[in-house]
């Protein structure tokens, strides 16, 4: 677990109620969230390419 004490102290002086745990989770959310979105989008991208290629001969339009 990374230590965000410096951020905690800096922002507590502004508005208060900043916890080390929440800061850590928010950064983890950013990393995991963007990773998750790109994985989903890449998978959909690959599936779309496969679909476009496999259904080319049976093109209805």
């Amino acid at each position: 677990m990374l230590n965000f004490n410096l951020l905690t102290v800096a922002f507590t002086s502004l508005l208060g109620n900043v916890t080390n745990e929440d800061i850590g989770k928010s950064f983890r959310l950013m990393g995991l969230g963007m990773l998750g979105i790109f994985i989903v989008m890449l998978l959909i991208y690959l599936v779309t390419i496969i679909l476009n290629n496999t259904t080319k001969e049976k093109n209805d339009e």
Partner: protein
């Protein structure tokens, strides 16, 4: 004489609760924005009227037997039914054709969600509890139903402010996006031309696409299934070619009916004591931040891709900014900006592709946030 006091009870109550009067003004402002400025009138007008309705003295539409409270409990709180059913209508409205013929645009639908997560960090640093920070971040997706759903599932106390912000900023796309894009692009970059050579898309692909997207989202971000599933269900009705009448109903009467009730139901969260807080103002500001950085995220991602692309394959970075969910406004804004820089540069179809990818990206982002919130024991 005291029997006549029932005529003045309401007035006395209002005088004792000036915050409710302030909410009348806010309701009036939303109605004015809807009618005079054409800011998402279908949502802001019902919300504005609802804000007045729920801030009248004594229990009327709120309270145990109040209709607005009942609509909120049944339509949003217990199952998130209203935003989800609205997604069926939205799905039926979307033509994924421009995206399917140019699927690399999907990446921009992912990159342009960056502002959501950056905003969560900022909100936490400003002292918001994580669940409220997550809810505020989703405003950046410019996706009203997803914002409402995430804030409801996470039980955020700022749902009213989040809904107002999400729909207001959606209406402000033509003002916010050009400013954000100009901030991080040069004139030369904005003038990059992108020839449009669409590949034909088979009907089979159009039918399988919504099913496969639902399966992929369901496997990786299970909490996005309700959002993605209902969006894709609406799209399947549209694309199957056998349910034209249902497709028209989903796009028109169904979406309209839900829109009418969604706006007035959200107003339940606009009762003065809940709404008039410093937190509401901060949520509105965070929403704007999220919206700007979603746009910047998409643009910067395009610029990074350009570092690896040959000169004749460069992407106009403005296309990245269209990877948000505000459809089709964002695509139109990009087209307008491109034509302003070079009157022969037509980017509309590329931007439409990125824009519909943003529809998928925003619901996936909402689902991922909910999945992580569940994992961390927040719901």
């Amino acid at each position: 004489m005291s029997e006549f006091s029932f005529l003045t009870d309401g007035v006395m109550y209002m005088l004792a609760n000036p915050k409710m009067l302030a909410m009348w003004l806010i309701g009036g402002l939303l109605i004015w924005l809807a009618i005079k400025k054409d800011f998402e009138p279908a949502l802001l007008l019902p919300m504005g009227f609802g804000a007045i309705l729920v801030n009248l003295p004594l229990p009327g539409v709120v309270g145990e037997n109040g209709i607005v409270q009942w609509l909120f409990q049944k339509g949003i709180a217990s199952s998130e039914a209203f935003p989800l059913i609205l997604f069926v209508g939205i799905g039926a409205m979307i033509d994924f054709g421009p995206l399917l013929s140019n699927p690399r645009m999907l990446l921009f639908g992912g990159a342009a969600q960056f502002g959501i997560f950056l905003t969560v960090v900022l909100a936490v640093l400003l002292g918001f509890p994580l669940k409220d920070a997550m809810s505020a971040g989703v405003i950046g997706a410019a996706d009203g139903p997803t914002s409402i759903l995430v804030s409801q599932v996470l039980k955020s106390g700022y749902m009213g402010a989040i809904a107002v912000a999400a729909y207001s900023y959606m209406a402000l796309v033509p003002i916010i996006q050009p400013a954000a894009i100009r901030l991080v692009t040069t004139k030369r970059e904005r003038m990059i031309r992108m020839p449009y050579n669409p590949k034909a898309v088979s009907k089979t692909t159009k039918i399988l696409f919504p099913i496969i997207v639902t399966l992929v989202a369901g496997m990786i971000a299970p909490d996005s299934v309700s959002l993605v599933g209902f969006l894709m269900f609406g799209n399947l009705i549209r694309e199957c070619g056998k349910l034209e009448s249902l497709s028209q109903t989903a796009q028109g009467p169904l979406a309209n009916l839900i829109t009418i009730f969604l706006g007035i139901t959200i107003a339940f969260q606009m009762q003065a004591d809940k709404f008039l807080t410093v937190g509401t103002l901060m949520v509105m500001a965070l929403g704007l931040f999220a919206f700007v950085f979603d746009t910047i995220g998409g643009v910067v991602f395009a610029k990074i891709l350009n570092l690896f692309l040959p000169a004749d394959k460069k992407i106009n970075p403005m296309i990245g900014g269209a990877g948000i969910s505000a459809f089709p406004m964002s695509a139109r804004v990009i087209q307008k900006m491109a034509l302003k820089e070079d009157n022969q540069n037509h980017l509309l179809m590329h931007a439409v592709g990125a824009n519909v990818a943003g529809q998928i990206g925003s619901v996936v982002a909402g689902g991922i946030i909910l999945s992580l919130a569940r994992k961390w024991g927040m719901m």
